[in-house]
Symmetry: C2
Subunit: 409 residues, 2 copies
């Protein structure tokens, strides 16, 4: 955890993925879905530094393979093209050829080299891309740096999401204003095995790809990976950061005096997007945040936080506004982390319910009133070390079942 | 896996936990619940050989501690007393004293030594037992070897279960008829963090406690532990076997010529009970069986089978009769087991949907018709070894959410 109290990071409510200098975007209806936009691009005026993290699934989809290959060439990207409606996963050799063709068509459309293009897909598994529609759609892409174009892009990447996810923050490095912005999709947050999580982040910070990867890994572990997306990963998950360098700060590396400022701003952007994904979980009515302190390590704290926020029984209790802390004990109890079973504290909001593993009296009425809020915070203190960690999720509702019992039809 | 084709194990539809010679039982309404029976006992005419497995939770409840202590004394048990409605978990020193008192009162009621009594509790966590009601209830226990008494016991141990779970099988060892029977409870099979799984098994086989523990461990790993109860364990889970020895076979040990016969009969009984628990999962409408073959090991096969059967997205798809094999791929993909992502076959029932990781055409209509059955079988072949394993679960429905959003109230 950074000591971040002196770092100023400002949220730009109106900012979008094209606020950082050098980026343009577009989103169109290519016809993969009935009426909604389904194809988008983010493009940079110059080859950008880049960093990415991918799904850990055994079954990485062809677009993941092609994107990895692009980045491996010279660690630069200038464009990323994304379609929704079809994940191009479990599509074998033809799927791989299609992902290459999607990359080639995008490169041709914008007159850039193929290895500067990343490809992402999200949607149903096991179906081939309708390449005629994809190719026509790519020809329709006319990126601009407008708010409208950003909204078109944010819409085009969604699947079962109810709302667009975007965030934009600014900070100052070497006296220069640095913008970081992102757009994301993902809504199957309750065990999101198949609900692809995609996030595309742009920045005008001047930073090389290797340093960007270091910063990204550090903040991904405590943000996107803490909404359980990595643990219950899809075939297509990807978080991609592109840095244009146009803010003209001195090159950022971990040795830069203001390195922590950049990392904190990136962290803030990632956390904002991750929480938006959790809040828009399929069927969700509440954002749930679990903070674990006093663990033997930060890894242990994060494991337990994620275990609690991932428990169906905790999620249903929160949906029912039921202060059933016994289910939190249950989730902690079967985690692999170190626990002293005789000294655990649990609070829901500011209402303490368990002290040294013993129930303490609390007002059920106040607890229910608190749990009726759209944001619920659970705090757990393990009292065995200094490790702390946070995870985010949502409640488990009738609508989750409804959405997922009929997703394909 | 045993070569079991020559072993005859017969199911006794009418058999109960008192079919094995030497056992009696009772179940009464002690007043912990409004009207249902809530306290039961199984007692043997003699100190019985015994074996047990317990929850792996960090927060083992006081009854688990007391039962372990009883068994540790001389590896014999003569009675087990069980209450529902209150788990006596997270109840600290008073909870432990209460569990001891429950043991002492039971020993006094039946004139046996305290260390021959096991104690089990299931229900809400964090509340103290109403010991006056427990003590009165114990005095009401009048065990008999009747079918009615068995039903009283089977009822008394239930919580949110909709149906009683019991099984009885017979086989022959040394020309003697051996009976094995059990009663079980547990219904929160979809992530059953808090849904205590209890199973009590009786047999009249002549077997020492150490051998019984060996047999029990072997079959628990492929039965009760494959309904995910151990992975998402409660504070109170327990499976307990008592053997009266009254069948008068030659003492069973792993060296006995018919050892495999006994193990197979125990396996059959455990599997029957485990499937009954899975089928009665909270809100469930379907029993789901997942068979994984071709894994590098049996452990890997069991991990993947359990991962698939535990996936919310697979469960909701089955509830919706949606042949969404992509979600099965998703569940396999993020398991820790070894997988060749290019050579996986998946069938639902007899309908193959994936061959060498590629989708193959199938009739959606036939698939939907199959998935409308109350039992659904998923078969996965990994084609990388000889390991196979099975897991059982159920679908995830609106009623699961309903039951668990309001469990305490």
């Amino acid at each position: 955890m950074l000591d971040t109290k002196d770092i100023q990071v400002l949220k730009l409510e109106e900012g979008t993925i094209v606020t950082p200098k050098g980026f343009k975007t577009a989103g169109v209806h290519a016809g993969l879905r009935y009426t909604k936009r389904d194809l988008g691009v983010v493009i940079c005026d110059v080859p950008a530094s880049c960093a990415a993290v991918y799904t850990l699934s055994h079954f990485q989809a062809p677009p993941i393979k092609v994107t990895k290959e692009s980045i491996a060439t010279e660690n630069k990207l200038q464009a990323v093209v994304i379609n929704s409606a079809c994940a191009n996963a479990c599509t074998g050799q033809q799927g791989l050829l299609d992902a290459y063709e999607m990359r080639a068509e995008t490169a041709a459309q914008f007159g850039i080299e193929e290895h500067l293009v990343a490809v992402a897909s999200t949607g149903v598994i096991g179906e081939l891309l309708q390449m005629d529609k994809i190719k026509n759609g790519i020809k329709m892409l006319q990126p601009t740096a407008t708010k409208e174009a950003a909204e078109d892009f944010q819409t085009a990447i969604l699947t079962t999401d109810l709302v667009m996810k975007k965030a934009c923050y600014q900070t100052t490095i070497n006296g220069k204003t640095i913008s970081i912005a992102g757009a994301a999709k993902g809504s199957g947050m309750i065990h999101p095995n198949m609900a692809t999580m995609l996030a595309f982040v742009t920045t005008d910070a001047n930073i090389d790809s290797a340093s960007l990867q270091i910063a990204m890994k550090e903040v991904t572990d405590v943000t996107f990976n803490q909404i359980t997306v990595d643990g219950e990963t899809s075939t297509n998950d990807m978080v991609l950061v592109m840095a244009s360098g146009m803010a003209e700060n001195e090159p950022l590396t971990p040795q830069h005096a203001e390195w922590k400022v950049f990392v904190h701003a990136l962290h803030t952007t990632f956390e904002d997007l991750a929480k938006q994904i959790a809040r828009d979980g399929e069927g969700a009515t509440k954002l749930v945040e679990v903070n674990v302190t006093g663990a033997v390590s930060e890894v242990d704290a994060r494991i337990i936080a994620k275990k609690i926020v991932g428990s169906n029984l905790v999620k249903t209790a929160i949906y029912g506004s039921d202060a059933n802390w016994g289910r939190i004990i249950g989730a902690i109890g079967h985690s692999t982390a170190t626990v002293n079973p005789d000294n655990v504290d649990i609070s829901i909001g500011s209402i303490q319910m368990l002290k040294a593993s013993q129930p303490i009296a609390f007002s059920e009425e106040l607890a229910k009133a608190y749990l009726d809020n759209s944001e619920v915070v659970i705090n757990v203190d393990l009292h065995i070390g200094d490790g702390f960690g946070t995870a985010w999720g949502c409640d488990l509702t009738y609508d989750y079942v409804k959405i997922n019992a009929s997703y394909r039809s």
